[in-house]
C-alpha cells in the first residue's frame, strides 16, 4: 500500500474502495428484534469512515485523454495548491472505467437540455415584437393630445402594452380609425454598371476599327466642308444675277393658279 501511495496514480475506484454496513439500531429493526417506534437516532451513531483512504493526496482527476490545455490547467492548479508538480509520466493513460466520465455527462446533459428547451418552446407561444410606431399611434387615437412623461414611461412598459391586447391579438387602438399615415417611399436600388472583362485581342480589334472609322470620318468631313463651300459660292453667284420683273410676276401667277 505504501508503494501504491507513492505512485499516486491509483484512485479509490481502481482499488475498489468500499466500507461495510454498520450494525446498529437500524439492524435490530431489520431483524425484527425491535419495533420502529422503539428506535431512537443517537448523535453518537457510528458513521462509515474512509479515514485510511488517503492514497491519493490531492491528486487531480486527470488522464491523458484530456486535451493538453485542460491537463495543463489541472497541473497548474495542483501546483498552486500543493507546490508539487505532476510529471507527464505520472498521468494515467485512461480514466478508470474507460470513457471520460465528463464526456458521458456532457452527452446526457445536452440531451436533457435540448429536451427541456423543446418542452419550454412547446408550452410557451412565441411572443410578437411590440412595434414602437403603433404604440405612439394608439396613444394619439385614444385622445390624449400630448402625453405626459409618466404616460410615456407606462407606454414603454411591456406589461401595459400586453394588457391592452385582446385574445385575438388585436389592440383596442387598432379597431378605431387612424389618421392617414405618410407613406414611406422605399428606396430603389440604383442599377450598377458592371464592367466586363475584355480579352486583349478584342481590344486590339476595337483599336483597329477606331483607326479605320477615323479615316472614313475625316474623308466625310472633308467632303462635307467642300460641299458647303461650293453651295456658298453658288448662292453668292445667284445673288449677283439680276432677274427681270416680268419673270417674277409669271412665276407668282402660275403658283397661284396651281
Amino acid at each position: 500500500m505504501k508503494a501504491v501511495k507513492q505512485s499516486k496514480i491509483i484512485t479509490d475506484a481502481q482499488l475498489g474502495t468500499m466500507t461495510g454496513k454498520i450494525i446498529n439500531g437500524h439492524t435490530l429493526i431489520k431483524m425484527q428484534l425491535i419495533k420502529k417506534e422503539e428506535f431512537n437516532e443517537l448523535n453518537t451513531n457510528l458513521k462509515e469512515s474512509y479515514v485510511v483512504s488517503n492514497l491519493m493526496d490531492d491528486f487531480p482527476p486527470i488522464c491523458r485523454q484530456y486535451p493538453p490545455g485542460v491537463r495543463a490547467h489541472f497541473v497548474y492548479e495542483h501546483w498552486k495548491r500543493t507546490r508539487e508538480t505532476i510529471k507527464y509520466d505520472e498521468i494515467p493513460e485512461t480514466m478508470y472505467g474507460g470513457a471520460l466520465p465528463i464526456a458521458r455527462e456532457r452527452k446526457s446533459k445536452k440531451k436533457a437540455t435540448s429536451e427541456a428547451v423543446d418542452i419550454e418552446e412547446a408550452s410557451e407561444p412565441k411572443k410578437k415584437k411590440a412595434k414602437k410606431g403603433k404604440d405612439v399611434h394608439q396613444e394619439q387615437a385614444t385622445g390624449s393630445d400630448v402625453p405626459s412623461n409618466q404616460e410615456e414611461v407606462q407606454d414603454l412598459e411591456p406589461a401595459k402594452i400586453l394588457d391592452k391586447r385582446t385574445r385575438s391579438g388585436k389592440t383596442f387602438g387598432s379597431s378605431q380609425s387612424l389618421p392617414p399615415q405618410p407613406s414611406i417611399s422605399k428606396k430603389k436600388r440604383k442599377p450598377s454598371i458592371r464592367k466586363m472583362k475584355v480579352s486583349t485581342y478584342v481590344e486590339e480589334e476595337d483599336a483597329q476599327v477606331e483607326v479605320a472609322t477615323d479615316l472614313v470620318s475625316r474623308e466625310v468631313k472633308r467632303k462635307k466642308a467642300a460641299d458647303v463651300a461650293a453651295l456658298q459660292k453658288v448662292l453668292e453667284i445667284a445673288k449677283n444675277i439680276e432677274v427681270p420683273a416680268e419673270v417674277r410676276m409669271k412665276e407668282s401667277s402660275g403658283e397661284e393658279a396651281q
Binding site: M1, K2, A3, V4, Q6, S7, I9, D12, Q14, L15, G16, T17, M18, T19, G20, K21, I22, I23, N24, G25, T27, L28, M31, L33, I34, E38, F39, N40, L42, T44, N45, L46, E48, S49, Y50, V51, V52, S53, D89, E90
Partner: protein, 240 residues
C-alpha cells in the same frame, strides 16, 4: 514512476481456477455498540473479554475490494507440507543438494504457516503475527477444528447457554443478544457466505481468523469457493 518497496517484484500466477471477477469479497461490518446498547442489546462485554475492542474499532475503514481479489487469486498456503515440497523440488533439480538444510538450499527458514501472495507484483505474506499486529491483539487462544455436532461434548454446554436447554434449538429460539452475536459472528468473525443462519458448532465455539482464512483459501483452490473472508482485515494488512 519509481516505487521503492525494499523488495524485488514477484510475478505470481493464479493458484485457482476462479477468475477475479468471479470472487466476492465479504467486507466486515463495523458494529455500533453504543446504539445497540441503547436499544437493549449490550454486547461490548462479550468482545472486551476476548480483547477484540481494537479489532472492532479497526473495522470502520475502507476495504480495497480489487486488491483483495488480486491477492486472493494468487494466494497459496505455505505450511509444513509446502515447505517440504519446496525442498524436494530443489533436490530434484540438483540431486547433490540432498540432505542439506533449507538455508544451505538457499531457501528461507520455515518458521510458521503463512499465506503467500502478491499485490501488484509486491510479495505479501500473512501470518498469525501479522494478524495480531493488525488487530492489536495477542495470538493467545485455542481453536478446535472438525467438531462433530452429534458426539462433541461441547454440544450440551452450547445448547444450555444458547437455548437454555439440553436439546439443540433453532434460530427463533435464540434471545435477541444471541441473534445479534450470531450475526456479528457471521459477518465479521467467521464470515460464512452463501446464506444460512444456522450456526455450525465451530461457529458457536470459537473463532480464529487465520485458520479460517487458510480454510477459505484452500476451499477456493480446491472447491471453487468464491467467497473471500475478511475483506477489511486484509485491506488493513495491506495498508499497514
Amino acid at each position: 514512476m519509481q516505487i521503492d518497496t525494499g523488495e524485488s517484484y514477484q510475478i505470481r500466477g493464479s493458484t485457482m481456477s476462479l477468475e477475479e471477477c468471479e470472487l466476492t469479497v465479504q467486507v466486515e461490518n463495523p458494529v455500533d455498540f453504543k446504539s445497540l446498547a441503547h436499544h437493549g442489546c449490550e454486547l461490548r462485554n462479550y468482545y472486551q473479554t476476548q480483547d477484540l475492542d481494537n479489532y472492532f474499532f479497526m473495522l470502520n475503514g475502507p476495504s480495497y475490494e480489487n486488491l483483495v481479489k488480486h491477492f486472493w487469486v494468487r494466494g497459496e498456503v505455505f505450511d509444513c507440507h509446502a515447505a517440504r515440497m519446496e525442498e524436494h523440488e530443489k533436490v530434484l533439480i540438483d540431486p547433490t543438494l540432498g540432505g542439506k538444510t533449507r538455508e544451505e538450499l538457499g531457501l528461507k527458514p520455515f518458521t510458521c504457516t503463512e499465506i503467500r501472495s502478491s499485490v501488484m507484483g509486491i510479495p505479501v505474506s500473512i501470518t498469525e503475527e501479522v494478524i495480531k499486529r493488525t488487530i492489536r491483539r495477542t495470538t493467545e487462544g485455542s481453536f478446535e477444528e472438525g467438531l462433530d455436532d452429534k458426539t462433541s461434548p461441547w454440544n450440551d454446554v452450547v445448547n444450555l447457554t444458547m437455548f437454555n436447554s439440553t436439546k439443540k434449538g433453532k434460530y427463533y429460539d435464540l434471545k435477541m443478544e444471541y441473534k445479534l452475536l450470531l450475526k456479528i459472528m457471521n459477518e465479521n468473525l467467521l464470515p460464512k457466505g452463501g446464506g444460512g443462519d444456522q450456526p455450525s458448532l465451530e461457529h458457536r465455539v470459537f473463532l480464529h481468523f487465520f485458520n479460517h482464512m487458510i480454510w477459505a483459501l484452500k476451499e477456493s483452490q480446491n472447491s471453487n469457493r468464491s467467497w473471500i473472508p475478511y475483506g477489511r482485515l486484509l485491506s488493513e494488512i495491506f495498508h499497514q
